[in-house]
Symmetry: C3
Subunit: 160 residues, 3 copies
């Protein structure tokens, strides 16, 4: 890949990340599974486990169908106090490309705001992704949210 | 707009955002109104009101002249303890373009540092912008700072 | 420099910043000095001193060799409780270019996570850089980390 193509791909990934964050932060959860391929992996996993290659994850979904189930849980059945999320995501690092798939990573930070409370730092870590071009748009074949703190202020309800 | 043009526009907006943040974070408040067109809208508005279409805003200015008044207030008449601001802004999302105007959005986060205190998360939300090309540079025709928390640690003095 | 070249350079700098952050956040400290030229300046300096032109810095290293010494200290001799860092860095602002060197700046924010504690805002400020093309890659000839708060929660061990 030429340098210019690499830089343009960085921008494309940045656009993908921005759309993903906006989808979640605006609470459009029904659109969230569309960011993934039909067969996919979405994991929320503490850094300590990820770095050691230990498989235990806080959340692990393996298909778009499971993501849809999760959305149903979030919006219909899970009992929780609502809160706002606000994602800040750093520039995409392209780790490698292999035919149609791109391995890439980016730092992220999520700020949470509960009703009548101040905004607080909620979750920080890095996305470890495999992105593919699927039906003319980029989608996540894998998205691992590797978070730094094992101590989460209460439970994580919405997608990271 | 071609995909490549769209990506270049994303970058141009990113440069605009970076200049805007630097202007404020460095305390060059006199330059702040120049980021706006002569007729403009600058609002600081809680998300709750914005999402429901309620007009009540914490701050609302409707011309470059009003922004200049505000700067005069900040630098000359308002009595407040000084603090530093530090903006982090996410990638620009282009919502749409219409002739010469661009509707775009970006997540932001402001860190505040008071003298002899630690840096703290001050304000988080999203910019909802209309940007136009005005005299060879990009300017805000509208900038709405839609913030997540209604509970602001003390009052907001400087521009967000 | 044409506008398109300027935007591409912004992207290149963004890629450099992303690699720099990843190197530190992943704890690959041995690679950190390679981001700098042989003769270089790395400073961690409070904003108050920087703005007034006062030279006193929290840390100041003046060659790649001194950076390597620091890495040795961090990994071998300094006694400290380990913690994770997570950098979020804003878009690069190109202040000026002069032949082969680029003066540029970017806002940053570092989140720290100690073992069994929640993530916390650790350090926020701006990078004030001189970047040069050295042996086919971009390196820092100067990197000043100008941080907003003089009050650092405990001491800073790892590079910012």
């Amino acid at each position: 890949m030429s340098d210019a193509n690499r830089l343009l791909l960085m921008l494309e990934l940045q656009a993908l990340y921005a759309e993903y964050c906006a989808c979640i932060d605006e609470g459009r959860y029904e659109e969230w599974p569309d960011f993934f391929t039909e067969d996919c992996l979405y994991q929320l996993i503490p850094r300590e486990n990820f770095d050691r290659g230990l498989p235990l994850a806080t959340l692990s979904f393996e298909s778009r169908g499971m993501l849809k189930d999760r959305v149903f849980g979030i919006t219909q059945t899970l009992c929780h106090a609502p809160y706002y999320q606000r994602h800040l995501v750093g520039p995409a690092r392209i780790i490698g490309t292999d035919g149609s798939s791109i391995r890439c990573e980016a730092n992220y930070l999520v700020v949470r705001t509960k009703q009548n409370e101040q905004s607080e730092l909620f979750n920080a870590g890095r996305y470890v992704d495999i992105v593919v071009r699927d039906q003319e748009r980029l989608r996540f074949q894998e998205r691992r949210c590797v978070f730094d703190s094992e101590l989460i202020p209460n439970s994580i309800i919405y997608p990271i």
